[in-house]
């Protein structure tokens, strides 16, 4: 059934909103701070599970990581918000059919920095970011067990946001400001990739499925293993950037609130 939905090349037919992957798992990112202690995590969540699970998950996490109990409600709230956001899209329809986007990875997991770029078909509802990430780790011989999930998560995040964009009723307001800002950048690039791919499709008799040699490097995963010093320096910088960003966002929110009130 899934295959049929994805195979339907006709642009008219729409499908119910879901993660455009085989497993309907949504990416959840947690970044909470209690009394100067910061908890950051990213994982996938099955939105079909009852919300009770969230509480259990939060309790367990806090217990496992020996975090203060104050984290539990924050974590629950964070997850709940994100799951609810996803659920708000459910029931809406999104465009089916082939939509190839260029996904970009640029992430650091512990001491591993991985940059990558590849084409992803949003219409392929059988795609499997986890398997893809596992492949990368295997092929690049990345030992760090956290890299794979991180890659998969990054892909899911991007897919999620793309899927939200493709909701036919166009609820753009729902996209967070942050993502909008990022997507302003990313989307322009991805749209370029799409057009390039569309071009290929149109003149499929002439073009080749084999990429031009000079483009190979752009689509190649690049992995950098950092030393401990580099990691520390990077972390410090990221911390600073994050703080600046946060402040910026707060300011943004202030403006938004003022305008919305007015």
């Amino acid at each position: 059934m899934k295959g049929g939905a994805h195979g339907g090349g006709a642009l008219k037919s729409n499908v119910k909103f879901r993660m455009p992957t085989a497993e309907n798992l949504i990416p959840i990112r947690i970044d909470v701070e209690v009394e100067g202690q910061r908890f950051k995590d990213a994982f996938t969540w099955n939105p079909n599970e009852p919300d009770l699970e969230i509480t259990g998950f939060a309790r367990r996490t806090v217990k496992d990581l020996n975090l203060p109990m104050a984290f539990i409600p924050l974590i629950i709230q964070s997850i709940q918000t994100q799951v609810n956001e996803f659920r708000s899209y459910e029931g809406l329809e999104m465009i089916a059919g082939e939509r190839v986007h260029c996904l970009k990875l640029d992430l650091r997991v512990n001491s591993t920095v991985i940059r990558d770029q590849f084409l992803w078909d949003l219409g392929n509802l059988e795609s499997d970011p986890e398997e893809f990430a596992r492949c990368i780790c295997k092929d690049l011989e990345l030992d760090d067990p956290e890299v794979g999930p991180a890659v998969a998560f990054a892909i899911r995040e991007q897919l999620y946001e793309l899927a939200v964009l493709s909701v036919s009723s166009g609820r753009e307001t729902r996209i967070s400001k942050k993502s909008r800002r990022e997507w302003a950048l990313d989307f322009s690039q991805s749209s370029k990739a799409v057009s390039a791919f569309e071009l290929m499709k149109r003149s499929s008799s002439k073009s080749s499925a084999v990429r031009k040699r000079n483009e190979w490097d752009f689509f190649e995963p690049i992995v950098e293993i950092l030393t401990r010093e580099e990691v520390e320096a990077l972390e410090a910088r990221e911390e600073r950037n994050a703080r600046i960003k946060k402040r910026q966002e707060e300011k943004d929110d202030l403006y938004v609130n003022r305008y919305s009130r007015a």
Binding site: E98, L119, W120, D121, F132, D139, K201, A209, V210, W216
Partner: protein, 639 residues
């Protein structure tokens, strides 16, 4: 897996086509595509020692054997198997624009080729996906499928290529002796040392080894001399075995420019995929004459002769009789058959010949008689000494006289003489003879010494030419010449066929330089004659064409005149019409005038004007110059 087992033999059938298609990746670098079965014996089903038909031209001289598991025997470069269709249905349901069988094939071929560039290492998905455009998930699916079927990363089966690559043939034969059942033997590159090009006119300079050694046809002759060359040719034939499939006896060869001695037969070349065809040259073109020699077996040659005897110059039937050769090949071969032509006139041997001739001419004459007798018995030549051979062949009634006429000169290594022979054959014997005469005359006019020699050449029946030369010679020379001429004529009665033969065969005791000059002159003469003929023909053609043109022009003019006449007639008719119309007009005008006069009278009567006034007005008007008509009009208008 039952299905797989069933499919395996099919893959074997497809062995040829599987490797048949050259595939290059984006950069156009050659991709080797050889397939063989895996080493693991338990998976091996049917693949046996069939020679794989494509060589590896990679950087390594050594062969690389690619193995695919026999359960992946369905794999074919040219086709998409139903297994693939089932495994990856999204490419084949036709629902997507970008997911087409073509794209799938591109993916698959690229991945497999990519792997085969470096079969020692395993190809990773991440490497592949950077080179392929498309949804990474889809590519992963394709990749997984191909890997699953062992078309790539089939590591267990990979054997160190050094083991399979055996450069020395002894090793190779050892290998093929006990091939593991799953391995296809790719013939190792056989290094054949490049043979020195055998010149096509390899005829010996001296007559001492004059057996018609090169041609297999003469193999029937009892002369033992032939044995060696035949062996040689067989040897060469054997050495020309295809480095890939080991076949020999092919007519066309493709030689690798980079690796000397690396030869492919035509089949392997056309089927070849893994190498650049540019690297190969068609050896056939470089050594065609050799090849034609090789290609004819003794039986074929004999059959050819038989056929010619039976059907004469009906080459279609001859070719039919020979069976294995085409018409053109038959003709070619027949032209190359030695009817002893090389005995007759090699310029290089002529001096020696002349010397010996002069010493024992009488003996020669005697043997000649013998010769004719023995010849009656059959074609079989006995072992003669060279002069005898020469004479016998001169006398022999070789099958077609047409070719015999060529012989005296055609054989020689001197290209000029060959040309002369060709030209003389073209213009015909009489013209050639005439031109030769003319040339000789000219030479003798230029050079009295040569004239002295040449005058001896002139046979008796060409006396009309002689006075010009003799006038410059001493009476003694004249006498000599007369004597000589008489002698020669006698000889020519026996042997001569054409003027060419005469000139060449009767000059034996002349210095060769003069002879060559004569020959050159003859050639030029022949060319001139030929040119004259051509020119004449052209002229006739031109005349004819001119006549046609003129005729056509005349016709054109005639028709034009006709048209003009018609036009004139039409004009005349028109003219008549116009005249008549004028007449009518005039009459009507006069009628009108009369009428108007009448009405004037009545008008005058009715009005108070006096007749005198009117009369006056009329008078004055009539005094005016002008036509009657206009005057009248004016007159009327005055009122």
């Amino acid at each position: 897996m039952t299905e797989v087992v069933r499919i395996a033999p099919r893959g074997e059938e497809e062995g040829g086509s599987r490797e048949g298609k050259p595939i290059s990746d984006a950069a156009g670098s050659p991709v080797v595509a050889q397939v063989a079965a895996p080493l693991d014996h338990h998976t091996v089903k049917k693949e046996d020692g069939l020679p794989s038909s494509s060589p590896n031209l990679g950087a390594a001289v050594n062969k690389v054997t690619y193995r695919i598991p026999s359960y992946a025997g369905w794999f074919s470069w040219d086709k998409i198997h139903s297994i693939e269709q089932r495994a990856l249905p999204e490419f084949f349901d036709g629902n997507s624009l970008s997911k087409t069988p073509k794209v799938y094939k591109e993916y698959r071929d690229f991945i497999v080729n990519r792997y085969r560039e470096h079969p020692q290492r395993s190809l990773t998905y991440s490497e592949v996906r950077k080179m392929l455009v498309g949804d990474v998930n889809l590519i992963r699916k394709v990749f997984d499928c191909i890997e699953y079927w062992g078309l790539i990363n089939n590591h267990t089966a990979i054997e160190n290529k050094n083991q399979t690559a055996a450069t020395d043939s002894a090793h190779a034969s050892h290998m093929s002796g006990n091939i593991p059942p799953g391995i296809r033997i790719v013939y190792p590159c056989k290094i054949v040392h490049p043979k020195g090009q055998v010149p096509s006119n390899e005829r010996p300079a001296s007559i001492s080894n004059l057996a018609s050694h090169k041609d297999l046809f003469t193999g029937w002759s009892p002369m033992n001399l032939q044995a060696v060359p035949i062996e040689e040719s067989i040897d060469r034939q054997a050495s020309q075995s295809c480095s890939n499939c080991g076949m020999n006896g092919e007519s066309k060869w493709f030689e690798n420019k980079k690796k000397t001695g690396f030869i492919l037969c035509e089949a392997c070349f056309s089927a070849g995929d893994g190498y650049l065809k540019d690297d190969f040259t068609l050896a056939e073109t470089t050594s065609e004459s050799e090849r034609n020699h090789l290609a004819w077996t003794k039986e074929e040659a004999l059959r050819l002769l038989e056929a010619i005897e039976k059907h004469g110059e009906n080459w279609d039937r001859v070719a039919l009789h020979v069976g294995t050769k085409s018409k053109a090949e038959c003709i070619m071969h027949f032209m190359k058959l030695p009817f002893g032509d090389q005995f007759c006139s090699g310029i290089m041997s002529l001096d020696a010949l002349a010397a010996s001739r002069s010493t024992d001419e009488t003996i020669v004459k005697n043997t000649k008689v013998e010769q004719r007798d023995s010849k009656g018995g059959g074609e079989a030549l006995e072992l003669h000494d060279n002069e005898e051979l020469l004479e016998s062949i001169e006398d022999a009634d070789g099958p077609p006289t047409k070719w015999r006429r060529l012989n005296p000169l055609a054989d020689s290594s001197n290209p000029i003489l060959a040309q002369v022979a060709f030209l003389s054959a073209m213009v015909g014997p009489r013209v050639a003879a005439a031109t030769a005469q003319a040339a000789l005359m000219a030479i003798s006019e230029d050079d009295p010494v040569a004239a002295q020699f040449l005058s001896a050449v002139q046979p008796g029946h060409k006396d009309p030419f002689l006075p010009t030369t003799t006038s410059k010679d001493s009476s003694k020379a004249d006498e000599e010449k007369k004597e000589d001429a008489v002698m020669r004529t006698e000889e020519h009665v026996q042997s001569s066929k054409t003027g060419e033969v005469e000139t060449s065969s009767s000059k034996e005791n002349l210095p060769s330089t003069t002879q060559i000059r004569a020959a050159i002159a003859t050639a030029i003469g022949a060319v001139a004659a030929n040119a004259k003929l051509l020119a004449d023909q052209e002229e006739r053609e031109t005349e004819y064409l001119m006549a046609t043109i003129i005729e056509n022009q005349l016709k054109k003019l005639e028709s034009k005149v006709q048209h003009f006449e018609e036009l004139e007639h039409l004009l005349e008719v028109d003219h008549g019409h116009v005249e008549r119309a004028q007449m009518q007009l005039e009459s009507s005008v006069s009628l009108y005038v009369n009428h108007s006069r009448r009405s004037q009278h009545s008008f005058c009567r009715q009005s108070s004007l006096t007749w005198g006034d009117i009369h006056y007005g009329q008078q004055s008007l009539e005094a005016c110059p002008g036509s009657k008509c206009s005057g009248l009009f004016f007159g009327t208008m005055i009122f």
